[in-house]
Amino acid sequence: MKLTRTINLHGVVLNIDEDAYQMLKDYLADIESRLPADEQGDVMDDLESRIAELLQAALFDYKYESVTIDMVRKVCARIGSPDEFGENKRPVIKRERISRQGVGRVLTIVLKAILIIIAIQLLFPVLALLFGLLMAAFGISVSGLALGPILGFGLLSPGWNWLLWLSVMAAAGLPVYMVVHWIVKYSRERKHPSLRFWVISLLLWLLSLVGLATSVSKVWQVNGTNITTVIKTLENAEDIEELERLDELVD
């Protein structure tokens, strides 16, 4: 038993075995990569047309309903090796090893590690947000929207929690929910947005706002003592300004 595909080769619809399809696809791609840009269209059209013709004839001869790998092999032999069409212009990826010795090597490793850490820290909220949107697109709605970012709390260091709260806000928030609902009009749940969804969404958004405020206040060290100090400083500043103003009046 073999898996088959249906292909359209220059207007001819053919059933073809999966392995035969792969071979034919690779063969045509190899030839195309060797042709100059201004010849690709014409030559590939002609080739596909000819191959379709030969495969149709082979199907007729063999009394088969599906093109086999053997038929493709024979057709390819008849058309010729891709080498006949020129040199392969696909870029050859050379894996050059950069010599890293002594201080340079250590520096490279340290920089790489820093870059990886930064990338993970910054990338995760974005990935979490995308995951949430994807879940929503597949119909898991508000819970899906919030799920992705929430997963991040287990994996991210607390200093970066404000980014996650931000992504929860964006993901579970009303604007995103509206946009997602506009794009995916009917989710799998086959329901119009109900009050329940709006309320849950709003609550999640408010919760995220509180979480964001808490996280940011921790990072910026905003607490009762600091606030009192700031207020006192401002008050003092106002007193000083008042005195200066009185001095000016007396003068």
Partner: protein, 107 residues
């Protein structure tokens, strides 16, 4: 080495032969392939398609599509005026080369 020289010689005359075949009448690609195969000039079919494309891009050939009852639509080739002039010039050139080669090989 020997095969390479032989292949190069064949490829060199292939364009001239294709133009000559098309100059006789409007032909379909398979007709060209068949004529070349009978003349023992064709090793693989693939070599013909880039040549046809190049000749067309140089304004020596033109084609028209014709629907086929038993396969994909077919391209029928004819020579342009420029192509006809080139074939006439190549015929003269071939006679000259042929005479020269005969002279060398028989001497």
């Amino acid at each position: 080495m020997v095969e390479n020289i032989k292949s190069q010689m064949r490829k060199g005359v292939l364009e001239y032969c294709i133009l000559t075949i098309i100059s006789r009448q409007e032909v379909y690609t398979s007709d060209i392939l068949e004529a070349l195969r009978q003349a023992n000039l064709l090793v693989v079919e693939g070599t013909v398609y880039p040549l046809l494309s190049r000749l067309k891009n140089n304004g020596l050939l033109k084609y028209r599509w014709q629907e086929s009852t038993d396969g994909p639509p077919r391209k029928y080739f004819t020579l342009t005026e420029e192509g006809q002039e080139l074939v006439a010039a190549l015929n003269d050139e071939w006679r000259t080369i042929s005479k020269a080669i005969n002279k060398i090989t028989k001497s």
